[in-house]
């Protein structure tokens, strides 16, 4: 198992490098100058500008610039945000927990929906429950997250007035009320993201279980006289989850995309809304760093999926 883990970690390195090359190429190909605003500013004399370019090494060859940028990225030296007047890494570290909580909670919610519904629907294929679940899943992943978010705000915040629709980091309360305030404002973003993911995962789970359920070893397990619950949980689900884990890992980039939009709608102070606001404010160092963090998160989740994969299917670890 540990050998398998090390191999997976080593495979993650080239993809991380590949992503960094893509990012840097985009940046290098982009027209304009990272010091565009300085260049426009008539108060900055040309000698100062040239000195700055010299200092930051902007006139060096591409390879040198890439290597310097890469080492700086890995050393945690991500530059300075001109808009927020603080270091980019502290800014991102401030924002990261909110994003991770929203994404994590919504993934848990999605699993809580997809696993039971998908398994139950697959054990009774073409029943009424299956058809209703299928239709709802189709509707669920055809609804764009920004529209669901708006509908939720309209229903739960404006019409019913149950939940706040603007996220507040500082809640004026203590003890239980403080926790309740935080949970209340998390409900809608988590639900929007979780329902969308849950809908598409339900279909994955259903078709994966359907593939497994007709195999001979399942009949054997039944013939042994095992309870139906044991057959489903121990024999069917564990094997059906193997392809599901792969598909979930492949969906991870889309999850982060959805998280950005959800954060933007509900004003959650995470790195997604940070990305949007820095794009609108032309804050290049922050944009680059956030994109890089998202790329790292995608690779991290792929790694977790690989580990899960090895746990679900012991044959893989020995290969």
């Amino acid at each position: 198992m540990s050998q398998y883990l090390i191999r997976r970690l080593l495979i993650a390195v080239p993809s991380l490098l590949g992503i960094s090359i893509v990012l840097f190429t985009i940046l290098a190909l982009a027209p304009g100058d990272p010091f565009g605003e300085l260049a426009m500013n008539p108060a900055v004399p040309p000698e100062v500008r040239a000195a700055l370019r010299e200092k930051f090494g902007l006139d060096d060859p591409v390879m040198v610039r890439y290597l310097r940028w890469l080492t700086a990225m890995f050393q945690g030296d991500w530059g300075f945000s001109f808009v927020s007047r603080m270091d980019v890494d502290t800014l991102i570290l401030q924002r990261l927990p909110a994003t991770l909580i929203v994404i994590g909670a919504s993934q848990v919610l999605a699993l809580l929906i997809a696993l039971p519904v998908g398994i139950y629907a697959a054990t009774r294929p073409y029943s009424i429950f299956d058809q209703v679940a299928n239709t709802l899943a189709f509707i669920g992943f055809s609804l764009p997250t920004f529209f669901t978010g708006i509908v939720f705000i309209l229903i739960f915040s404006i019409t019913l007035d149950w939940l706040p629709f603007v996220y507040q980091s500082n809640i004026n309360a203590t003890g239980l009320a403080w926790y309740w305030g935080h949970i209340k404002q998390m409900i809608m973003p988590v639900a929007v993201l979780g329902l969308f993911q849950g809908a598409s995962w339900t279909r994955f789970v259903r078709s994966a279980v359907l593939d497994v359920i007709r195999l001979d070893y399942v009949t054997t397990a039944r013939a042994k006289g095992l309870a139906e619950r044991v057959v489903v949980m121990k024999h069917i689900v564990r094997n059906a989850l193997i392809p599901v884990v792969t598909l979930v890992a492949l969906q991870m980039p889309a999850v982060f995309g959805g998280a950005i939009i959800t954060e933007q709608i509900f004003r959650v102070p995470g790195i997604g809304s940070l990305l949007i606001s820095s794009i609108l404010a032309n804050d290049t160092p922050v944009i680059m760093a956030v994109t890089f963090v998202f790329a790292c998160l995608v690779i991290l989740f792929n790694l977790i999926a690989d580990i899960l994969y090895g746990w679900l299917d012991p044959r893989i670890s020995y290969r």
């Binding site: 893509v22 055809s142 708006i150």
Partner: protein, 317 residues
């Protein structure tokens, strides 16, 4: 499929020579067979009808409903649906029906063009990987996997942020943005198609009819274009259909974040973006725009589902 191939060989009693006997007397073309399978998926047929109505509406609607999209009327601000304005008005009193019809053109055009980009790039990459073995295949697949693990929305936003101004200068605000959005969305959605095409090529290039073509001296491009590619198209069409829906969602997302088309071009996502600040007084504004996106995406997904039933020969119906 079954009807078009000779099913078994029997011996002609008169001559003693083996002849091919058709399983069915009537010849069924693959297209007709696919249509028969598609029709069995009732929701897909209904979706095809609804989507056709929507496409016809955005194509010919502006010819019938001759209200200007930017006609400002402060006496009719944020009104609900009425006879004069069937879908109501926005905060400047502009007619929403006219804006929705105009925006629908752009949203659907972006979806279709981005799909075309994705399918063309994906088919080329997949075909090259599928025909060549060894390092070219491995390299292309590494590239595909790399693109699959890129965080797409952040990169989309980054590219649009970096390149929008220069493209606007070259091609004008509308066309420049259209090209940028289509290329970027297509450029991030070709990977599933490439994988599908490669997998199809792997099985098809060992089939007897390709071997026969090879034995007859057909060059590799001819084998690919005449023999392999037409047989690999089924799954590609299904994937392409779903790509249209994904592209429409992505374009609406960009517009919704305020980073898509300029404000004076009302795509569906842009209308929703403008409407979200007036949810409490004019919910109809957001609902119509969001509903249109939802309906288009839902019907396209259902059509994709029906096409999968129709074009995937492994499915027995």
């Amino acid at each position: 499929m079954a009807g078009s191939t000779p099913a078994s060989l029997t011996v002609d009693p008169a001559t003693g020579v083996p002849v091919a006997v058709k399983a069915k007397p009537k010849r069924v073309t693959p297209g007709r067979e696919a249509w028969r399978r598609f029709r069995r998926h009732r929701l897909a047929v209904a979706s095809a009808v609804i989507l056709s109505v929507m496409i016809l509406a955005v194509l010919f609607g502006p010819l019938v409903w001759r209200v200007q999209i930017n006609e400002i009327d402060f006496s009719a601000m944020l009104e609900g649906p009425s006879l004069a304005h069937p879908l109501g008005t926005d905060d400047l009193g502009q007619d929403l029906l006219a804006r929705m019809l105009y925006g629908g053109r752009i949203s659907l055009a972006v979806g279709l063009t981005a799909m075309a980009v994705a399918v063309i790039v994906g088919t080329i990459v997949g075909a090259i990987a599928g025909v060549s073995r060894g390092s070219v295949d491995a390299g292309l697949m590494w590239l595909t996997d790399l693109f699959l693990s890129l965080p797409q929305v952040p990169l989309l936003l980054l590219i649009i942020y970096l390149f929008r101004d220069s493209l606007k200068e070259i091609a004008g605000p509308e066309v420049g943005m259209f090209i940028l959005i289509v290329v970027v969305i297509g450029g991030f959605r070709w990977m599933p198609v490439a994988r599908l095409v490669r997998a199809q090529f792997f099985s098809l290039r060992e089939k007897e009819f390709v071997e026969a073509a090879r034995a007859l001296g057909a060059s590799t491009p001819r084998q690919v274009i005449r023999h392999i590619l037409p047989n690999a198209l089924g799954p590609v069409i299904v994937a392409g259909t779903i790509d249209v829906a994904a592209a429409i969602i992505t374009e609406s997302t960009l517009s919704f974040l305020g980073l898509g088309f300029p404000p004076d071009i009302p795509t569906w996502g842009r209308i929703l973006y403008d409407a979200k600040d007036y949810l409490d007084i004019a919910p109809h504004w957001a609902m119509f725009a969001g509903g249109a996106i939802f309906l288009a995406v839902l019907t396209i997904n259902y059509i994709g589902d029906g096409l999968r039933d129709a074009l995937d020969p492994r499915r027995v119906l």
